[in-house]
Subunit: 339 residues, 3 copies
C-alpha cells in the first residue's frame, strides 16, 4: 500500500466493481458505516444497516446496485459487498515482516528438511524427518514433532504444536495454541483399569484450511484424521480421532466432532454444537449453536436442539414439567388428524 492509499477508480478497476460518484475519492483505510471517516471506505451488505448509510461520513461505500439508488456519495457497486470489502480491506492489512531464515535459537533436528525460503521464528523446535516447505512461516514457540509437513505458504502464527504425523497442505493458516496430532482418546477397560490404545495414524489438513486458536485435532487411531481443502475452524474446537471434514465446511467456536464422525462438504456447524462419534452428516448441513447431533443426517438443511431462553422463574416451572412430558402426552392421545 502506498501512503496515498487508492482512489475509488483504482479500486473499481482492480476488483471489477461498478463506480458511482467521485472516482478520484481517495481511500486511506477502512471503517464501519457508523464510524468511518471521509478518507475511509465502508460497506453496506445487510439491509438492516441501510439506515446508517445516509448518516455515514465514509468517503466511499461498497454496496449493492439497488442500495446505491439516490445515494449522493461515492459508491463502489458489488453483487456481494461483503466479499468485495474483504478483498479491498486486505490492501490495508499491516503484515508483519517474516523474512526467510531460521532464528538462531531454533532447535531443529538434523534430519528435518527446512526450505531456505521458509521463516522459522525464535524458540521453535522441529523434530526428526519433518519438512517445512518454501514460503512457510513457523512463528515463535511452535513445536513440530516427528514426521510432519508444513506445506508451501502455510503459516503457524505462534505457539502451535504439531505433535506427530501431521501433514499440512499449502496455504494452511493455524492460530496460536492449536494442537494437531495429539493422541486420540482411545481407551479399553481391562480388569478394572484403563488400557491405552496406541494412536498410530496422523492428521491430514488440506490446502487453504484455517484452524483457530486453542483448537485441537487429534491424530487417528489407525488411519488419519482428515480435513479436506478450505475447511475453516474457529477457536477452541475439538476434533476427535479419525474425524473427516469435507471441503469448504466451517465450524464455529467451541464446537466439537467426536471420534470417527464424518462431516460433509459445505456444512456449517454452529458455536458450541456437538456431533457424536461415528455419525455421518451429508453435504450442506447446518447445525445451529449448542445443538447436539445424535444420529446421522442424510438430508441437507438446518438442524437444531435445545430449548428457548426464559427468565429463570418461568424456566424452572416449565423445565420441571419436561419430566412429565411423556405422562402428559399419554393423557392426550394423538388424534387422527394430527400431523
Amino acid at each position: 500500500m502506498s501512503n496515498n492509499g487508492h482512489t475509488a477508480q483504482e479500486l473499481a478497476e482492480r476488483f471489477a466493481l461498478g463506480l458511482r460518484g467521485d472516482g478520484a475519492a481517495r481511500v486511506l483505510g477502512v471503517g464501519t458505516l457508523a464510524r468511518a471517516e471521509p478518507g475511509q471506505l465502508a460497506f453496506l451488505a445487510n439491509p438492516k444497516y441501510r439506515a446508517q448509510l445516509a448518516a455515514s461520513r465514509a468517503g466511499v461505500v461498497v454496496m449493492r446496485e439497488d442500495d446505491a439508488e439516490g445515494y449522493p456519495g461515492t459508491a463502489l457497486i458489488a453483487r456481494d459487498p461483503y466479499a468485495a470489502f474483504a478483498k479491498i480491506s486486505a490492501l490495508f492489512e499491516p503484515r508483519p515482516l517474516r523474512e526467510p531464515g531460521i532464528h538462531a535459537s531454533a532447535a531443529i533436528d538434523p534430519s528435518a528438511d527446512v526450505s531456505a525460503d521458509a521463516h522459522i521464528g525464535p524458540f521453535v523446535s522441529i523434530g526428526a524427518r519433518s519438512r517445512v516447505e518454501a514460503g512457510a512461516i513457523v512463528g515463535p514457540g511452535c513445536v513440530i514433532g516427528e514426521d510432519c509437513v508444513v506445506g508451501a505458504g502455510s503459516e503457524l502464527i505462534a505457539r502451535v504444536t504439531l505433535v506427530t504425523r501431521v501433514r499440512l497442505g499449502q496455504r494452511v493458516l493455524i492460530h496460536p495454541g492449536a494442537v494437531l496430532g495429539a493422541d486420540g482418546f482411545g481407551l479399553a477397560m481391562e480388569a478394572g483399569r484403563w488400557l491405552k490404545v496406541p494412536q498410530l495414524g496422523g492428521v491430514v489438513v488440506g490446502d487453504d484450511c484455517e484452524i483457530g486458536a486453542n483448537t485441537t485435532i487429534d491424530r487417528g487411531a489407525i488411519e488419519d484424521t482428515v480435513l479436506e481443502e478450505d475447511v475453516r475452524l474457529d477457536n477452541q474446537i475439538q476434533i476427535g480421532h479419525n474425524v473427516r471434514i469435507g471441503a469448504h465446511s466451517a465450524m464455529a467456536g467451541c464446537s466439537a466432532a467426536a471420534g470417527s464422525a464424518k462431516i460433509g462438504r459445505y456444512c456449517l456447524i454452529g458455536g458450541g454444537a456437538g456431533v457424536l462419534g461415528h455419525l455421518e452428516l451429508c453435504d450442506k448441513v447446518v447445525v445451529t449453536a449448542m445443538s447436539l447431533v445424535t444420529s446421522s443426517i442424510r438430508e441437507p438443511g438446518e438442524y437444531s436442539s435445545g430449548t428457548p431462553l426464559m427468565d429463570n422463574r418461568s424456566w424452572r416451572k416449565n423445565a420441571a414439567r419436561f419430566k412429565q412430558l411423556d405422562a402428559i402426552a399419554r393423557r392426550n392421545p394423538r388424534s387422527r388428524e394430527d400431523g
Copy 2:
C-alpha cells in the same frame, strides 16, 4: 509475612474487623472450617456450613456477628466474611520472586519498549513497536506480537500469546495458554470457496481484568474487541471479534460470546453458556450454566435454557415427546384463564 504470622488483634486492626475472644491468638496460615488446625484461620460465610463451626479446630474464624453469638473461640467479625478472608489469606500467599530484568534468552525486537522495571522471563518474544510498562511481568514462553501494550503492573503468567494490537491496561492478570488478538472468524463465501476477511482491529483490555487459562479473545474486524475494567474471565472462554464486555462482569469456564455481542456491566455468565452474535445484554444479567442466549436481553435478572437431568430411560421417553410438543399443545388449546 513474618514467620510468626499475625495475631488476631493485628488482623482485626489491619482489616477493620471486629474481634471476639483471644486477640493474641496467632495465625500462621489458613484452612477450611472442617480441616483447619489451631494455628490456622478459617471462615464461615455460607450458613450451610454453620454446623461445622462447633467442631472446627481453627484458631481463629472470620464470621458474621450473628454467627459469633455463643461461639467460644476467637472470632473476627466481618459483614462479608468471604471478602475479609480473601484479604487475610493474601498475607499467606507465596509469591514467586520475579525480579526486574530481561532473561538472556528473550527475543525482543529492537523497536519494542520494555521498562527497566519489568520482568521478562525465558523464551519470551516481543515484536515490533510493543511496550511493556513498569512493574509488568511477562512469564516464560509468552509471545507478544506487534503493536501491543502490557500495562503497568500487569502479569502474563506463562505461555500467554498477544498476537497483535492487544492493549492491556494496568494490573491485568492473564493465565497460561490464553490467546488474545488472534484473527476473528470472518469469512465470506465467493464462488464456492471461503474468502478470508482481514481482521484489522485490536483488543483492548481494561484495568484489573483477569483472563483464565486457555481463554481466547479475538481481535476486531474493523474496530476493537473490548473488555472494560475489572472484567473476570475464567478458563477456556471464547470471545469473538468485536465483542464488548462491560465493567465488573464475570464469565465462568467454557462460556462464549460470539462476534459483536455486547454484554453489560455486572453481568454473570454461567459455565458453558453461550451468547449469540450481535446481541445486547443490559447490565446485571445472570445467565445460568449451559444456557444459550438467542435474543437480546433488556431487563436485569436471571435467565436459563435447557432441560433437567434425568435417568437416561426417563429422559428418552420425555425427550421423544418433545418432538410432539406442538401437536400436544394444539390438542389443548389455551383457555381464557391461562396465564
Copy 3:
C-alpha cells in the same frame, strides 16, 4: 519391533490369545478391518462390523471365539478383542527417542531437582524447588513453576504448563497445551469491584492419569484439586478448583466440572457435559454428551438432559411450546393412574 514384525503364533503366546489358522502368518503392522492389507492385523470387536470380516484382506484378525466360527483366515481369539488389539498395536507404535539429559537451552532454577535419568527438552523452564523424577520426559516448551513434582516415568509431551504446587504421580501423560495449577476462579464482590481470593492449594494427580490437549485443571483455593489414579481426561476439559475425580473415571472432550464438585470412581462423563460446583456424583455414574448435572447423584446409572435434534422448522415450533409447558400441564391435571 524387528523389521520382520511378528508371527501370529508369537502374538498368541505373548498376549495369551487363542490361535486359529496359520501361526506363521506374519504381521508387519495394523489396519482397520475394511482396509488392512495381507501383512496387517485388524480386529473385530463391534458386531456391527461383522459383515466386513468376510471381505477383509487383513492377514490376521483378532476376534471373539464365536465370531471366528467358519472364518477361513488366521484369527487370534480374545475375550476382549479391542483390548488385545490395543496391546498388539503398541508393538508397532513409533516412539520418538527421548534420551536422558537436559537440553542446553533449558532454564532450570538452581534449587530444582532434575533426575539425571530424565529428559528435558528445548525451551523448558523449571522453577524453584520443583522435582523431575527418573525416566520422566519434559518435552519442548514446557513450563514448570515452583514447588511441582513430575513423577517417575511421567511425560509432558510439549508446551504443558504446571503453574505451581502441581504434584504428578508416576506414569502420568499430559498432552500439549494443558495447564495445571492455574488460579482457581475465586472472587468476592466488595464495594462494586471484584476482589481476588488467593488460591493457596495445589493440584495432585495420581499415577497413570492421562490429561488431554488444552485441558485445564485449576489449583485449589485452600486444599488441593485431586485426580485419583488412572483418571483419563480428553482434550479441552475444564476442572475447577477443589474438584476431586475418583480413580478410573474418564471425561470426554470439552466436558467440565465446576469448583468443589466430587466425581466418583469409574464414572464416565460425556463430551461437552457439565457438572455444577459442590455436587457429588457417586461411583459408576454415566453422564451423556452435553448434559448438565445440576444436583448430586447418589445412584449409579446413566443420566441425560437436553432435547433431540430436529429440522430447524419443526424445532422452532416445538421449542416455542416449551415456554407453555407448565400451562399445558396445568390444563391436563395428573390423573391418579399416572406413574
